[in-house]
Symmetry: C2
Subunit: 161 residues, 2 copies
Amino acid sequence: MHRHEGHDACHAGTGDTLARAEALCRERGLQFTPLRREVLEAVAEAGKAQGAYDIAERLSAPGKRVAPVSVYRALDFLMEQGLVHRIASRNAFIPCAHGHAPGEGVIFLICRTCGGVDEASSEEVEGSLGRTLERAGFTPTHSILEVEGDCGACRERKQAP
Amino acid sequence: MHRHEGHDACHAGTGDTLARAEALCRERGLQFTPLRREVLEAVAEAGKAQGAYDIAERLSAPGKRVAPVSVYRALDFLMEQGLVHRIASRNAFIPCAHGHAPGEGVIFLICRTCGGVDEASSEEVEGSLGRTLERAGFTPTHSILEVEGDCGACRERKQAP
DNA sequence: GCGGCGGTGATACACTGTAACAAAGCCGTG
DNA sequence: CACGGCTTTGTTACAGTGTATCACCGCCGC
């Protein structure tokens, strides 16, 4: 089993994320263009889930406007490569903290206080979910598991203010 | 444990849903107004997840326009009462097939072929998820579990056409 | 009657996402 | 090098999702 302990205990730094992305694209013969790099960088630097328009604004400067549609295209690419994830309950995006296989069951832990998002995975959860689906006669192609609550750090901060 | 077997094997009929809603509102001293009734009815009749604008259009007739904002308010009410659920991955709404306590872990099984949505629940999944969250030091307040795939009926239809 | 309250109507607006087409860059072949 | 095909990006327009605000109505209690 493989999981996370504390909040951002193991978040890769922005630099690591970019380096990993670049290596991965070279390996797969894909273009890690400046725009894609900037979008990934913006998502990685933010520390919390970012909306596409947030990213567009973040990348825009006087004289250089980045349109949301460009951000969406870059995000689509990055998601296909497993470099960012979409948080469906927030319409927002986060950098992928590790390299999962696409489709592997990831659990998103969304802190309602600090807005940070951790990733976890659990073979136990996947196993029990798989059995439940099988009993229901349902063949899964993709699943979303998002949990909202308080991360350890924020809970402590609340208890001892 | 409590779960569903086949596709809509136990979907309550529209009439049942409305009767249950009416009883529940009376019991809680809340108003089950015509608009709320119509919105619930529209969601229940559809057979698949409906967007708020779909519902608004469905309820509108020449000379009687129902604005989306009214639909949203009715949906908010119905969700608070646990009578409808929101499918985050689709921005759409379905009637609740049973009476869950709000916050109880429900698994949505979304058929990518017929668009139908079944509900399932599993103490096994809930238990393993709870343990995983505890190990991660995360205190959950609400969780979303949505699975996309093929329901039994659609899978059979594909295999033997 | 009168005031308060919840529900509804209506308008406006912000946010999220996609379609369609044009322009620019890359890369192979002849 | 020229050419043609491909991917990426820019631009515009638009569809879909959701919220804020204010006005109006109906009901209930005083």
